[in-house]
Subunit: 254 residues, 2 copies
């Protein structure tokens, strides 16, 4: 029976993690190693300047999990460096409350958890649910799809450096139109600077504004969600732009 390590960036008690864990229990033995608080927007962090805690906690369904003081990528590193009894066959990160599309993947703590597994040579999947409005999200459909995809990945493997980034639209199962394999789309960030003064008159700044939007091009993750499809994007951690290498070589740099 395969072993599946689960992490997330919303924190160990997030409902998306519980839904993912319960769905993955049909695929293999599940170990949960997640942050003790929210790390959204943390990026691919490696905490070297301070020590980390890892404590056993009990999830809402009575199962045992580890909560650490580190980022999602730290959770995966701690587990794989020796805090789990055996090497997992797969790492799944999520289910994030909110999408990770386009350039979001470079900021995303959820994706960073999967990246850290890839650094250790273990196949990994990041899973996110686009959440609209204030309705309590239904993680069921995307959790079941993640379990299905995990089965495929466990059978087929993934190439070195590659992880799968999965996003789902906020639709009930019967309204989902299917699955698209996509490339990353183009995000439009709507951040604005919000300047305020503290009670002592000194300025401080929020990165404020609205959530990002994006170009809903066909073939992209953003386009797939807009059309009601689950999106699966293979990401490669080798970010080399091979095509542009040839250009730079003509610049005559010494």
């Amino acid at each position: 029976m395969p072993t599946i390590l689960i992490t997330n960036d919303d924190g160990v008690y997030a409902p998306g993690l519980l839904a993912l864990k319960q769905a993955m229990a049909s695929v293999g033995e599940v170990i949960v190693f997640a942050p003790d608080h929210n790390w959204s927007g943390a990026g691919h962090t490696k905490t070297l300047h301070k020590p980390l805690r890892a404590d056993k906690v009990t999830l809402a369904d009575g199962s045992e999990a580890y909560a650490t003081s580190g980022a999602p990528s730290d959770c995966v590193a701690l587990a794989l460096l020796g805090l789990v009894p055996r090497r997992p066959d797969l790492v799944v990160s999520g289910i994030n409350q909110g999408p990770n599309l386009g350039q979001d993947v470079t900021y995303s703590g959820t994706v960073a958890g999967a990246m850290e597994a890839v650094v250790f040579g273990i196949p990994a999947i990041a899973v996110s649910l686009d959440i609209k409005d204030a309705q309590p999200p239904d993680f069921g459909p995307i959790a079941r799809f993640a379990a299905r995809l995990a089965t495929e990945v466990l059978q087929r493997g993934l190439p070195p450096n590659v992880l799968l980034n999965v996003n789902a639209p906020p639709l009930p199962e019967e309204q989902l139109r299917g699955v698209q394999v996509t490339r990353l789309g183009r995000r439009v960030y709507r951040d604005v600077l919000v300047a305020r003064d503290d009670p002592r008159g000194r300025p401080y700044y929020w990165i404020g504004g609205d959530p990002p939007t994006g170009h809903e091009e066909a073939g992209t993750d953003i386009g797939a969600l807009a059309q009601g499809y689950i999106s699966v994007t293979p990401l490669n951690m080798d970010m080399t732009d091979c095509a542009f290498m040839a250009q730079v070589a003509t610049w005559g740099l010494r």
Copy 2:
């Protein structure tokens, strides 16, 4: 005259930043916006859960800089969202004390500063110096090369989504063999789990071990440094693995 925004991840008072700033003064008007403390290993962070400070400080050469409480990517975001009087033509991040090679680029605060500029559509360069031993590093050669490269980038531009990641070996100028345009190499991480007990008997964990090594393949950043060359690697933030997309499409996911 072009405007160049400079950040780093070692903190605003780091000698590598000062050397970079002084070299860039020959290329354009320089604005420094850097973290008030070290953020090594921070990854591409976007701080949304707390406000940030940005205070004027004076560098060792008497020039003015901004020190912020955010990560390198936050520094660039704050500056570009409105804290600098006009849009910079180029962002340069560094000079980092230590290399950023292979998969390091996904963890690197230095590279993340450049990534954030790319998100804003501004060309960017990340600059790092491999540092051996405890000798005080000489940032001069790589700072001068960075200024030369900045001139090229200001003239030629960079494609959307692309930044240049520069690394230099710890050699005096006369021993540098030249410049290679490279792809990312394969890092070998040597992290180990170090478990300790606190004075109250509760366990805590360090991510310890030796610095990473790597495969010194010809054509890679790691190989170039090993042979005494400065390495320039174009990185593309579109991490889509287009080749593997076709594979996943044959998996029959619904």
